[in-house]
């Protein structure tokens, strides 16, 4: 087992990893930028080292700085959290070269899944259902139009192969729109990702975003830990996640679980990961992408299968084998991502000082957060300040509990998304489980 883990991240996930390391008796090193010198997780780490100024590129994304920190503290493993360098193949390779274990995927796995059009090719070859689309990148606009008319059928979506976060994407409904969108999409992709390669997919209308948590050990065994429903998203950013999905029955879970295991086995996946699917109203599911890291919403899976996923992740990285048994959900869990944003002013970020803080508690209520009264939210990073997670026996009880807990959660001094999430818990369609990824587009609050 590792002696000392360096956590190459910040905020709530850094604290999350430290908590599990303490339980495992593993020493921790926290790294921080000058903007995070008052972060509370530094107090709970065994060592804390400043690695750079506020901008992420000079600190949390700066690979030499993070490796140097591992060097001078003698850390034997690095946990990259999510975001930042967690899916950076170069960093994974750098760790290998320096004899430090990267608690995540190998450079080959990251490269394999990071390039979206490559990933689809690999999945198709493995027999994982994919959204009908182009074989690899489109050579020309006319090739795309031919495919859209003859094979896929409109509406189609053109996507940047190096893309993410909803950028470099255009949905088109006919040939004219296709021609119009082609050049602007490629320009946007080149600017955002330095790569204007585009591929084409059938646009699945009103899909649900349902993902399967998987785990693979170093000996080729893979298992699944059931699904999470993350359809409630605003501009491709998840707001609410839950496990299990109100749309998935036992049969669909088994089919999707099998497909996710096939996907992971095809690349000999090691560690914890997530396979994302789009599910249409007829319960057809299509591979969308694979995330080779721990996800923000991992707590809802933890609550319904009763295992610490960070602990599993560290054990897998240390070479401990799994049994290969799958895990099915017991009860229901919901998570709200609480961001310091003003939902009534177009979600404008609201950095500032938290003057009064009261976190909700009670049976089945969990708060994963790094904030404290007096904490100044730095403006340099993302706006998520807390994750509020509830667990209950049924979905109905979980919604009631989340509603109660949100109303009890006091964060004064900054604006947060809590008022919006309270309204969501009161919405009849949400309560009935009638929602797709389009839900937030028309939700009135």
């Amino acid at each position: 087992m590792f002696n000392k883990i360096l956590i190459a991240n910040r905020g709530e996930i850094a604290l999350r990893v430290i908590r599990t390391c303490k339980e495992m008796g593993i020493k921790t090193v926290a790294v921080y930028s000058t903007a995070d010198k008052d972060s509370i997780h530094l107090k709970f780490a065994d060592e804390a080292v400043c690695i750079g100024p506020a901008p992420s590129t000079d600190s949390y994304l700066n690979m030499p700085n993070i490796m140097a920190a591992a060097e001078i503290t003698n850390a034997d493993a690095i946990h990259p959290g999510y975001g930042f360098l967690s899916e950076n193949a170069k960093f994974s390779e750098l760790c290998q070269e320096n004899g430090v274990k990267f608690i995540g995927a190998s450079p080959e796995m990251i490269n394999g899944m990071g390039d979206k059009s490559n990933a689809k090719k690999t999945m198709r070859a493995a027999g994982v259902p994919c959204v009908p689309g182009s074989e690899g990148l489109l050579e020309s606009c006319e090739e795309g139009i031919k495919l859209a008319n003859e094979e896929i059928g409109y509406p189609v979506i053109m996507k940047a192969t190096a893309g993410g976060g909803g950028r470099g994407m255009r949905i088109v409904w006919n040939d004219d729109e296709f021609r119009e969108a082609w050049d602007s999409a490629r320009k946007e992709a080149a600017a955002a990702f330095g790569n204007d390669g585009m591929y084409l997919e059938k646009f699945v209308e009103e899909p649900r975003h349902i993902e399967i948590q998987i785990a693979g050990d170093q000996y080729g065994k893979v298992c699944h830990l059931s699904e999470r429903d993350c359809s409630i998203q605003r501009r491709h950013q998840k707001l609410i996640e839950e496990a299990p999905s109100p749309f998935v029955d036992d049969e669909l879970r088994e089919k999707m679980g099998e497909a996710a295991i096939k996907a992971a086995a095809a690349i000999k996946y090691e560690g914890v990961g997530t396979v994302e699917f789009l599910v249409d109203k007829n319960k057809n599911f299509y591979f969308m992408e694979m995330n080779t890291r721990i996800q923000v919403e991992h707590p809802v899976t933890e609550e319904v299968i009763n295992h610490d996923l960070i602990m599993e992740q560290i054990k897998l990285a240390a070479g401990i084998p799994i049994t290969g048994k799958n895990y099915l959900p017991q009860g229901h869990s919901i998570e709200c991502r609480i961001n310091a944003e003003d939902p009534y002013n177009n979600f404008r970020p609201s950095p500032g000082v938290i003057e009064v803080l009261h976190k909700p508690g009670g049976h089945g209520v969990r708060v994963d957060s790094h904030i404290y009264a007096g904490y100044r939210i730095p403006p340099n990073y993302d706006s998520m300040v807390a994750k509020l997670i509830v667990k209950a026996n049924t979905r109905e009880e979980a919604i009631t509990k989340m509603h109660r807990a949100l109303n009890e959660f006091i964060i004064d001094g900054v604006k947060t998304t809590i008022p919006l999430q309270i309204k969501l818990m009161e919405d009849e369609d949400f309560k009935a489980g009638n929602f797709t990824t389009k839900f937030m587009e028309t939700f009135k609050f």
């Binding site: 400043c50 030499p64 140097a68 920190a69 060097e71």
Partner: protein
């Protein structure tokens, strides 16, 4: 050295301008350090400034501590802080002499130390000219970003 001798030495340091005394004998060594009291008086005078700010009482206690330590160093010179994280070396290799010693006059752009990270040796150049008053870090010690390395008295 017996207890009485040690007590004499401690008294000597307390009552004088000496703030750092080191005694090295064959079978024992003694180090006595103290902060120069006169600079602390200067920083107390500047303490009222944070209180004047219209902020919550709890918040103003933090700036006080920072002001104290800043004026302590400001009294002695300009800090050169580490621009990166790594291992600090005073010379380019173990058999070469140190780039600078206390008392040396240095110019802008002069190499004053090396910070090594991942087998890359980065020469750190001074951004100020003046006299080296203090070397804050021991040779071959780890340093983090923004950690004070040298104090320079600008001429």
């Amino acid at each position: 050295m017996d207890l009485k001798e040690i007590q004499t030495l401690v008294k000597l340091v307390s009552n004088s301008q000496v703030d750092h005394l080191e005694v090295d004998k064959k079978d024992f060594s003694l180090k006595i350090k103290k902060n120069a009291p006169k600079t602390e008086l200067v920083s107390v005078a500047s303490a009222p400034a944070p209180v004047a700010q219209p902020s919550a009482p709890a918040a103003s206690s933090a700036p006080l501590a920072q002001t104290e330590s800043k004026s302590n160093d400001a009294a002695s010179g300009v800090e050169i802080k580490s621009p990166m994280i790594g291992t600090f070396y005073r010379s380019s290799s173990p058999d070469k002499p140190a780039f600078v010693e206390v008392g040396d006059e240095i110019r802008v752009g002069q190499t004053i130390c090396i910070v090594e990270a991942m087998k890359l040796f980065n020469e750190i150049e001074s951004e100020v000219a003046g006299k080296v008053v203090k070397i804050c870090v021991d040779d071959a010690s780890p340093v983090e970003y923004d950690q004070p390395l040298f104090i320079i008295d600008p001429s």
